[in-house]
């Protein structure tokens, strides 16, 4: 192995069920239910997944949900905006903790 990530490994996701098939089945059944059309469309769910994939920085998920978004009818501009949502929440989460920094500063400062 010369890299931790290999694109062909994505297709092996199901292998995770080899040692714990019941848990894997429950997970994949749940996963399929989550992404089925519901109050949100499959297209909207794929966009959320794409944004989350960038937040957790999972290359498998970015690969899978880039294709899924395109095939569910999102265009590249919409996908880019979804990534910006992810970026804004991640960045905002850091920045809003600055309030804790300010509080701590106030507490220990004259």
């Amino acid at each position: 192995m010369d890299t931790y990530y290999n694109p062909s490994d994505l297709a092996k996701f199901g292998d995770i069920g080899q040692e714990a098939p019941e848990m894997a089945k429950k997970f994949f059944d749940y996963y399929a239910s989550v992404f089925a059309e519901g109050e949100l469309t499959e297209r909207e769910k794929a966009l959320i997944a794409l944004a989350v994939a960038h937040a957790v920085q999972c290359p498998y998920c970015i690969d899978a949900y880039t294709s899924a978004c395109l095939e569910k009818g999102s265009n590249q501009a919409e996908m880019t905006e979804a990534v910006h949502v992810s970026c804004a929440i991640r960045g905002g989460a850091s920045l809003v903790h600055g309030v804790q920094m300010i509080n701590n500063c106030k507490k220990v400062s004259m």
Partner: protein
């Protein structure tokens, strides 16, 4: 891809046979003003294959003999073909629906105003390529500036009544994916295109068709050079849906090439896979009975993946 398309049919105990011939598709040539990267025919400005008036006359006689419900004129760019007006005028009374494919951008030129007026007069259905509501993705497939010109032309067609709600002038759009991925479900894509085009650009159309790109011609070259061919063929073949086979367009469509030879579909023209396995000119055929086997290759996987695309 572990099996050829023919092996896949055998495995599923399916026969791909003709049901008859209700749709006449006429490919009037490979000359085109655009060089789209997904074109299965390698059409472009440098091509010289164009249907002449004598062959058009033979096509018209053929349509008279067979009484097709629909005639679908495609290319290349049909607008560039001399005497295209003649073909439209003569085919009009012979079919219920007469379709003209257009890439939209040529029609912007004043030289083609008369063709537009003729289409309106004859109530020709216009079927226009419009892959994406995104300008960059459209231009990546069809060429720089095509998206803006296409939207401008759609505005003009709407102003003529084409594609407007309740109008009898039909303007259909065709969306092929702008890369090595599958098309969007047609109903959902149509709903979204209608919302987006009306909301953002005030454009209206009648119906949207979504088709998979065929792994032939310029698109195949791109798949090879970009390293996407194996993955794309795997995607198509793994998506094989046996239920689509009985509804494939090739069961009821006969495709005529620019020089008057017969094929089961436009894609078979691209690989010179003629109707019934031998090159037959349309003047030499008196009947197209049900039961004739349809010539098939691995590119047919593009029409049988998922819900099917034809």
């Amino acid at each position: 891809m572990d099996k050829t398309f023919q092996e896949k049919l055998l495995e599923n105990k399916l026969l791909l046979h003709r049901d008859g011939a209700e749709i006449l598709q006429v490919n009037v040539g490979r000359l085109c003003n655009l060089t789209c990267r997904h074109c299965h025919l390698n059409a472009g400005p440098g091509r010289t294959e164009v249907m002449d008036k004598d062959t058009m006359t033979e096509v018209i006689a053929f349509a008279n003999r067979f009484q097709f419900k629909t005639a679908d004129i495609t290319g290349g760019s049909p607008e560039l073909v001399p005497d295209i007006d003649y073909l439209l005028l003569e085919l009009r009374p012979l079919v219920n629906d007469l379709i003209l494919r257009t890439n939209l951008v040529l029609l912007l030129q004043e030289d083609y105003r008369h063709l537009l007026d003729l289409c309106k007069e004859l109530k020709v259905v216009l079927t226009a390529s419009f892959p994406s509501t995104n300008a960059n993705q459209t231009d990546a497939q069809r060429g720089k500036g095509v998206w803006l010109d296409s939207v401008e032309m759609l505005h003009r067609l709407n102003a003529m009544g084409y594609g407007m709600p309740d109008s009898d002038l039909k303007l259909n759009l065709v969306s092929n994916p702008t890369g090595a991925f599958m098309p969007v479900d047609q109903c959902r894509a149509e709903k979204k295109f209608k919302q987006d085009l009306a909301r953002k650009w005030g454009v209206h159309f009648t119906n949207l068709f979504t088709f998979a790109n065929i792994p032939l011609g310029r698109f195949r070259s791109w798949l090879e050079s970009s390293g996407n061919l194996a993955q794309y063929m795997e995607k198509l073949s793994s998506g094989f849906n046996p239920a689509t086979v009985k509804g494939l367009m090739c069961r009821t469509l006969i495709s005529v090439s620019w020089d008057g030879y017969l094929y089961d579909c436009d894609f078979n023209q691209a690989v010179d896979l003629p109707f019934s396995g031998q090159k037959i000119h349309l003047t030499k055929i008196s009947k197209i009975p049900p039961g004739i086997p349809i010539e098939a290759g691995d590119h047919c996987y593009a029409c049988t993946a998922g819900a099917g695309f034809t």
